[in-house]
Symmetry: C2
Amino acid sequence: MPGDLPTLRDVADLAGVSPTTVSRVINRSGFVSAGARAAIKRAIDELGYVPSASARGLASRHTGLVGLCLPVVEADAGLLHSRSSGPGQGAPVCETVRTVVEAQPDAIFSWGGMYFGEVVRGAEFAAWEAGLAITVAMTRSPDLEARVLNMAGRVDGMVVVSGTLPGDLLEHVARRVPVVLLTGLSPGSAHDRVTVSNAEGVERLVDHLVTDHGITTFEYVGASTGTPDDDERFRGFRRALLRAGLAAPEAPRLRGDWERGRAREIGEELVAGLRRGEALPGALVCCNDNTALGLLDVFAAHGIRVPDDVVITGFDGIEAARTATPPLTTVEQPMAELGRAAVEVLTARIAVPARRPVTMSLPVTVAIRASCGAHPPAG
Amino acid sequence: MPGDLPTLRDVADLAGVSPTTVSRVINRSGFVSAGARAAIKRAIDELGYVPSASARGLASRHTGLVGLCLPVVEADAGLLHSRSSGPGQGAPVCETVRTVVEAQPDAIFSWGGMYFGEVVRGAEFAAWEAGLAITVAMTRSPDLEARVLNMAGRVDGMVVVSGTLPGDLLEHVARRVPVVLLTGLSPGSAHDRVTVSNAEGVERLVDHLVTDHGITTFEYVGASTGTPDDDERFRGFRRALLRAGLAAPEAPRLRGDWERGRAREIGEELVAGLRRGEALPGALVCCNDNTALGLLDVFAAHGIRVPDDVVITGFDGIEAARTATPPLTTVEQPMAELGRAAVEVLTARIAVPARRPVTMSLPVTVAIRASCGAHPPAG
DNA sequence: TTGTATGCGTTATCAT
DNA sequence: ATGATAACGCATACAA
């Protein structure tokens, strides 16, 4: 068939050499005469030849691709809902301009405020450095298993944000390709892992609250039980309090679900308690920024002043934390570095499959801002 | 070899059926008895079988992958520079916490302020809906050609942000897979294209400046010559002025390069001119937000008040535009929608290769904010 | 430095 | 509903 794509054999024929020789120049294996190389290059762009990754992968047993499994977050479902007629029929040209005075007042951007976008960027960077390409998927519900296995069959290794895959699926995947778990540790698991210093971060943050702001009563606002990152962060919280000789609960007494919506409900309950005469703690240390921002929303609505009436802190360092009112004191995770580190650990694992599992913990940054009572840096 | 991965044939043997039948259940082709299907499923997860995408792609002649070529932007090179020892040897565990009072004062995030992150997100969404996966690459310099062709050989189609690939490379790629150009039109090209209403957006914006703010003198701050998007935007600028009966230049008299850094230099020149007695125009209409933000930087430093002394507007709608001081009036591009639309056009093209090229233009939103003198919405 | 032969794991075609 | 068989396009021993 003339409409067919040119193959390596076509190039070889046109250049008057054997397929092997063509393969050699494609793979830069050397041992090719200058003349042959030139003839082949000419043939390649005369034919517009592009090597088939499928055939290469099949023959060489590796693909040069690494996969990234990201969680799907709150706003993602709601976004991108404005279905148009679709590009299927004809030439869909629409020339419209809308004018708005203030766009997306409370919009929560997806990918966790581009939070995971940063991870992708770091991962892409590391992959590029290693001569690899990346494929990305958000693990959405219908058909999750088929799609994830599909990715597993396509890559040399996968980075999985922990918690995004059911355990059995994860193990199925891991039987085929190396897996690096990102952020969050399930103790005893046999996989490589990249995480951040969750406990140490919160510990330093609380130290600051105790030492520099003299706060003595604390409440931790956690996520649902059994979430490794949350557990770690609470551990740091508790440790700091105990070291300071303050009372510390055995477990979080307030629990959200990482999301701003649920945090608002918790905020409302706190306000209701306040109305009943229950005092607010000196500080509410939240498991993440979204939770803290939700509380901020509610307190602002009820005239409760932060940090004057209560101090609020977060964890993550999402963009919205910096631009919140007041700006949020938080523990910043190096998201891009996490992505990069995960891919670096993965490539190391691919190179040496037998090496025992490694855990890499990245440093975090405590960002002191107004929500804990800090004054803006003197101009 | 026992360390080898199980194949479809292994599954067939264990289930006591032929490879064809196994293939049928994997591909949901139907025509398989319930008994056979059950036996096969059991065999699959007993063996931990995962189909090889390479083999599938080779046999079926399509991969279920679409590629995204993104441009590499200003800050990307500088970011991610903090090389550590690398995870290569041993277990690299570092537990550190740094404390900062205010992080990244002027940080320009990469991916154009996550600008292209939004595109990726939209593309991933559309791909997912179509049962496809995506692979992403920033087209970095060393080895660009090899890497891009690599992607081309791996996918069923590619979305290319226009301007990121040299023309001959683009054509090489396009000889093998369908290509959709994103944003920016090179007239006469034979590819599908997705863009936004550049001209209309700026036109409406200038209309607003003329009608509602009574501005009569304008200057357009463009990008380097021959940039399609910039040309379009200038066209809208000029059209609006002419319609209003105002003087309009034939071409931009001020030119940056899309980046904040160069924009600052332009700003300095403007300030120098002012010192020499040249008046500022009523409004500086910029080709993009970064350019506008650069001007804002310089004017703030020199005590020139925006919008009182001069009005500044942008284009794009990046996050930094919303949080700038003052918030920037701009034309917002629907980035995620662009990504989605591009992939939708691509899948349509893959389905019907012969159809003639389509151009899809997405509506933009004029976001009126303080930098043009608008008052915040009444509470 | 170059060529020959074989097999990678799946789908597709054609039978049955 | 199921099976046999032939590609698919390349890498990789191995031979020359």
